[in-house]
């Protein structure tokens, strides 16, 4: 998959609240499909569908233990998506820090106009 499509797959995978919850669960350690299904009151096939989406996006992988095939988080892939967002965030944070300063000036001006 091309890098551009991969990022898109990651965002699509993360757009769903159940899948985000699965990621959050796997962040604290690997888990089997059964263990993952438990907190969601969902059938195992339904959970498996979500796991497939996460797997295709490269966000999780299967462990080697023959019986359990535990899923684990691919933190590096998650980091890729974060990296792009972080650059975008920095650009806007720069704008908003200037806005902070502007708002401070506006508040001061208002106070001076209306002395209490």
């Amino acid at each position: 998959m091309k890098a551009a499509h991969r990022l898109d797959a990651i965002f699509a995978a993360l757009a769903d609240p159940t899948r985000r919850a699965i990621i959050a669960r796997l962040a604290s350690g690997q888990a089997s499909v059964n263990e993952l299904a438990q907190p969601f009151a969902m059938s195992q096939p339904a959970i498996s569908k979500h796991l497939k989406v996460l797997e295709r996006a490269g966000l999780i992988s299967r462990g080697r233990e023959a019986q359990r095939r535990p899923r684990r988080l691919e933190a590096k892939r998650l980091g890729e998506a974060d990296e792009w967002l972080e650059r975008y965030r920095r650009l806007w944070e720069g704008n908003y820090q200037r806005l902070d300063a502007l708002l401070d000036r506006l508040k001061t001006q208002e106070k001076e106009r209306k002395p209490q």
Binding site: L7, D8, F11, G94
Partner: protein
């Protein structure tokens, strides 16, 4: 200085949602988004850019036009759109299209301001035409727009030098 941490999250198929808290009443935050003399003081993008054009007719159906210039080399990028909803001081909806768009179609921006205890929480939702468009924006918020401007400049220069020959 205390200020809320900016959060940006993809939402659904084609939205980006930014949230941030400001230490000011929302009346002022709204002003800073709707008065051109205030907007051009902060909405500047990367360091070294200024905003020579900031025309805004803030009413439903009114247009806005923004142009930024990189001071070191004079390259410019412009964008504009139409206001769809104007509800001071809490909600502003406008379309957005860059002159040299590096993502397909138009975006729709919705600004919502909520005030609580003297603080204002801003939520800006940017809805793109497609997932691919959103991705293009995240991957290159501004640099691609500038690169597109350069491409256009190249075309103009090529056409001009051809005509001079």
């Amino acid at each position: 200085m205390t200020h809320g941490q900016l959060k940006i999250t993809p939402s659904g198929d084609r939205d980006l949602v930014m949230t941030r808290t400001f230490e000011a009443p929302r009346r002022l935050v709204y002003d800073a988004h709707t008065k051109p003399e205030l907007v051009r003081q902060w909405l500047l993008g990367p360091p070294g850019w200024s905003m020579p054009v900031c025309d805004m007719d803030v009413r439903v159906g009114g247009k806005y036009r923004w142009v930024w210039r990189k001071e070191t080399d004079g390259s410019e990028m412009g964008m504009g759109g139409v206001y769809r909803e104007v509800k001071a001081p809490e909600r502003l909806v406008n379309t957005e299209r860059f002159d040299d768009a590096w993502y397909p179609g138009e975006a729709l921006n919705t600004l919502v301001l909520v005030e609580k205890g003297g603080q204002t929480t801003l939520t800006q939702t940017m809805r793109y035409e497609s997932r691919a468009a959103r991705e293009a924006v995240i991957k290159s918020p501004m640099e691609s727009g500038v690169a597109a401007s350069y491409d256009r400049l190249d075309e103009v220069l090529a056409a001009t030098s051809g005509a001079a020959r």
